[in-house]
């Protein structure tokens, strides 16, 4: 492998290869079958510009991000302590564990009717669905990671006379941090998938609503695809933000131990 970063190579084009091929095939297809309802790449780009110009883009984007932020943050704040508690004890886990395992395979979208029934059509229902979708996988990941902490670390914590609080904050949390970051990233992906789906049904704003509304109100497929592109780009952006956490210097040990570096 001679993939050296050459002095002359200013900008790496490789990541854009797949996108370029897709866009080329797409516009070729549109040209071969004119009159199709599906718009070409240029029409979609114009649709995005139109959304940006009339302010709808920002309105829907902010609405979606607002719901994801609150649903996801609330889930993190509850799931991490709950996962640590369940992972550190036997009996509460025996009592609650099976319930969580039954709830987990239920698609978060199956909760939409109940969420609307209890919370009405609106932000609360969407946020509640994102909360549910994020909470279960995150709590179970944390629980299982806590279970795998080497016993010597926990025994050392007990031996040094740590209180339950310092034990959790100074030993358990750092020990699970690398796995926790991976869990946070996967869960963020789930939350973003779910908000778009929830917006198609439970609310009347957001990128998911944009997609479904553009089709329902006049078959504006250029807006449909524009919404899809925006959903993908924002999802990528969110992932990049969480991925940054994996590079924290405090987590270097995890990668060093796994032998993937040095």
């Amino acid at each position: 492998m001679s993939e050296r970063k050459g002095l002359t190579a200013g900008f790496d084009l490789l990541p854009f290869c797949g996108i370029a091929v897709l866009v080329a095939a797409w516009s070729l297809g549109i040209r071969l079958r004119p009159g199709s309802l599906l718009p070409g790449p240029l029409a979609v780009a114009r649709a995005i510009a139109e959304l940006a110009a009339n302010g709808l883009l920002w309105k829907h984007l902010v609405a979606s991000l607002f719901r994801v932020t609150w649903g996801y943050l609330a889930a993190v704040l509850v799931a991490v302590p709950a996962g640590i508690a369940l992972g550190s004890t036997r009996r509460p886990d025996q009592a609650i564990g099976p319930l969580l395992e039954i709830l987990r395979p239920i698609s978060p979208l199956a909760w939409i009717p109940l969420a609307i029934l209890w919370l009405g059509v609106g932000d609360q229902a969407a946020i509640a669905i994102i909360f549910l979708a994020s909470f279960l996988p995150l709590a179970l990941t944390v629980k299982n990671t806590v279970r795998r902490i080497p016993r010597v670390h926990l025994q050392a914590a007990d031996n040094f006379g740590l209180t339950a609080w310092s034990r959790a904050s100074k030993v358990v949390l750092p020990a699970i941090a690398p796995q926790l970051i991976v869990g946070l990233r996967l869960t963020m992906g789930i939350a973003w998938l779910v908000v778009v789906a929830a917006e198609m049904i439970a609310v009347n704003s957001g990128l998911g609503f944009l997609v479904i509304d553009a089709r329902n109100a006049g078959n504006r497929y250029d807006l449909v695809v524009a919404g899809m592109v925006l959903i993908g780009l924002v999802g990528l952006g969110l992932d990049t933000v969480v991925l940054r956490l994996e590079r924290l210097p405090a987590l270097r040990w995890a990668y060093a131990q796994a032998g993937s570096r040095r």
């Binding site: 025994q155 007990d158 031996n159 040094f160 750092p174």
Partner: protein
């Protein structure tokens, strides 16, 4: 031939006492007797070795002494008080894997000292960094240190708590033989300086003769104390002296080892 071993008398006053200890662990549907009727007495400031074959229950005994495991029968007394749980006055030293990988060497050593004022904590960490010979490696993470250095950090972390008693569970078992010899000498030097009561578990006959004044020889499982052997060689010990070789062969015979490979 008369074995050249002298059974040690019990210490006059003991820091740590074990009375009629039984430990039975629950396995898959059946129970395993690990320790049976173990009696032991350790004097304050003594370095004692517990010697036995692998899997005989030495580590289980140490876990009970450390308060991590409750005995099935019998009791452990330290300063006359029964041991019921781990206590910062008595620190357990694991093999090198016990260090927290997310903390630097200095942070590991200062881990148990958060109640101390900052200046005092730093002074104590610096003292033990120097004592175990790790000056210059304070900011290294465990994964950046060799096995022997990690073990030094582990010992320093335990000593920094200023405990009365140290429990060492085959601390040098995973190290190469040269590092092992060096660290034994270091441990003796530190023990001379700090005079902690040390219970050192090992399966290495020579290690026990090099370190301890008394060696508790355990039997196979369910383990009992076969004999407490007195090591009547002054420090520093000559590893080729007649007495050393006699003790080595005598203890080997006691455990049931032949003298030839």
């Amino acid at each position: 031939m008369i074995l050249p071993l002298r059974t040690s008398p019990l210490p006059a006053a003991s820091k740590l006492e074990v009375h009629g200890l039984d430990v039975t662990l629950a396995g898959n549907g059946h129970s395993i007797a690990v320790l049976r009727n173990v009696d032991l007495a350790v004097a304050a400031g003594e370095l004692i070795c517990v010697l036995g074959p692998s899997g005989c229950g030495k580590t289980t005994l140490l876990q009970v002494l450390g308060g991590f495991l409750a005995p099935t029968r019998g009791a452990v007394l330290i300063d006359g008080e029964p041991v019921t749980r781990p206590d910062p006055r008595r620190i357990f030293v694991f093999q090198e894997r016990g260090l927290f990988p997310w903390l630097t060497a200095a942070e590991n050593i200062g881990f148990g000292l958060e109640k101390l004022p900052r200046g005092e904590r730093q002074a104590r960490v610096a003292h033990y960094v120097e004592l175990v010979g790790l000056v210059g490696f304070e900011r290294a993470f465990p994964h950046e240190l060799s096995g022997g250095m990690k073990q030094r950090v582990e010992v320093a972390r335990a000593l920094a708590m200023n405990p009365d008693v140290l429990f060492l569970d085959e601390p040098f078992g995973a190290l190469d033989s040269i590092t092992r010899l060096t660290l034994r000498r270091e441990l003796l030097r530190i023990w001379e300086a700090e005079r902690k009561t040390i219970v050192f578990v090992t399966h290495d006959i020579e290690e026990s003769i090099q370190l301890a004044d008394r060696i508790v020889v355990m039997s196979q499982r369910p383990a009992t104390v076969r004999r407490v052997v007195e090591v009547d060689i002054p420090h520093p010990r000559d590893l080729s002296s007649r007495r050393y070789l006699e003790l080595r062969d005598g203890i080997g015979a006691e455990i049931g080892l032949a003298h030839r490979v």
